[in-house]
């Protein structure tokens, strides 16, 4: 193993790992596939449902005035996803130069790719998971959401406290 972190080619932990008894189980059927590589997905848990949201793709260039809105919306999506970088930029006063001044920051429109009513959720709790050797770190912490058919998803974090916070959120304590 290479001792220098700069040359560590291992992957960071995935954000979500889906699992299930078979490819036709509920979560496995819904999970994003390789065809969705350009789509931004967000798993959302509310008091009523577990849902997978997909950011509405940007229309092709040259569709007139709506283009600027879509571009802005896309930038907002990027901002949310990579929020830690944004915060650093805040402190350096470079923040959000990409957003036009004196206009509300646009929010990316999303569609629901699929959803399960909360009655189908069998359990929500913390778990640990050992990732393949191609990932670093290998031992990660998760909030595990399992449906009645045994399929589910692990929301992954390298920090145990983040999994604990997610669990508290899931039960309305955060």
């Amino acid at each position: 193993m290479n001792s220098s972190a700069d040359h560590d080619s291992r992957l960071p932990p995935p954000k979500v790992v889906c699992f299930g008894p078979g490819p036709q189980s509920q979560v496995m059927r819904l999970r994003p596939s390789t065809e969705d590589i350009d789509v931004r997905f967000t798993w959302v848990l509310t008091s009523h449902r577990l849902a997978l949201l997909a950011e509405v793709p940007e229309p092709a260039a040259g569709e007139g005035a709506s283009g600027s809105f879509w571009q802005k919306a896309r930038k907002f999506g990027a901002g949310v996803r990579d929020f830690s970088c944004d915060v650093v930029d805040v402190l350096q006063d470079k923040k959000l130069a990409a957003y036009p001044p004196n206009e509300p920051i646009p929010v990316a429109p999303v569609t629901t790719r699929g959803e399960f009513p909360v009655q189908q959720v069998r359990s929500i709790g913390r778990a640990t998971r050992k990732l393949p050797g191609s990932h670093a770190p290998r031992k990660v912490f998760a909030l595990r959401i399992e449906l009645a058919d045994g399929s589910g998803l692990d929301v992954i974090s390298a920090a145990e406290e983040n999994a604990a916070r997610l669990e508290a959120m899931a039960f309305g304590r955060q």
Binding site: K15, F83, V87, V90, L91, K95, I105, S157, R165, L166
Partner: protein
């Protein structure tokens, strides 16, 4: 434009701190807006509504908050995910200390520094950055307005002065502070860290910080306050 924290510290020590007073913390100037939840009314950006007689002469080229946050139609702490919001004020009523602080931050805009000394918490800005203040209108005295007039009189002299100094937009004795905290917030897996200043009157100011270490660095400030309470 006063952006360098070290310059701010030197200037404060030379022109702002009183005998025996030392600066403990300074935050600013920040990009963006303060969101509010005051007496159950929510929205962004917070405006001082004329309660502060001075303001920054600069009109910053900032994006506006998302419509969701601007209109207060969010759940819990979802406002955290609006990148245009760097601070949040929560208060039971508009007379609360955290609202005064937010007023000062709104008036100081891109030039506002939130400072804490062992004696005071205040919002200041470089005198050279201030808009020449209008003479205070004659209005009934009491509360913010009489205080505003006295600040204005002092400020008129300072703004015209050759030597750089700090203008106080809002201040309160440190005894108004109940405690400092560090809070992991937001609905995402990775928390967004905020420093918390909780006031004795039940109001709170939350300040977006650059991570857990930065947020936790505000907490020990509480033990350095002068025991003047």
């Amino acid at each position: 434009m006063l952006k360098d924290p070290l310059k701010l510290e030197k200037l404060a020590a030379r022109t702002w701190c009183r005998q025996g007073e030392a600066l403990l913390m300074r935050i600013g100037p920040r990009w963006g807006h303060v969101a509010f939840d005051i007496g159950g009314r929510r929205g962004a950006p917070h405006e001082h509504g004329g309660r502060i007689p001075l303001r920054s002469a600069r009109v910053p080229e900032w994006s506006l908050p998302t419509e969701t946050v601007a209109t207060g139609r969010y759940h819990g702490d979802e406002w955290v995910h609006d990148p245009s919001i760097w601070a949040w004020v929560h208060a039971p009523n508009p007379a609360a200390a955290a609202v005064g602080c937010a007023d000062g931050l709104a008036a100081g805009g891109a030039d506002a520094w939130l400072v804490l000394s062992n004696h005071r918490i205040a919002v200041v800005m470089a005198a050279s950055a201030a808009q020449e203040p209008e003479p205070a209108a004659e209005q009934e005295s009491g509360g913010w307005l009489s205080r505003a007039k006295s600040i204005t009189k002092g400020a008129q002299a300072l703004v015209r002065s050759e030597e750089e100094s700090l203008l106080t937009l809002w201040e309160a004795p440190s005894s108004v502070i109940h405690r400092f905290g560090a809070l992991p917030m937001g609905r995402d897996v990775e928390p967004v860290w905020f420093g918390q200043i909780a006031f004795q009157d039940g109001s709170t100011l939350l300040i977006r910080m650059d991570g857990k270490v930065a947020a936790e660095s505000v907490v020990p400030a509480g033990s350095s306050l002068a025991p003047a309470r």
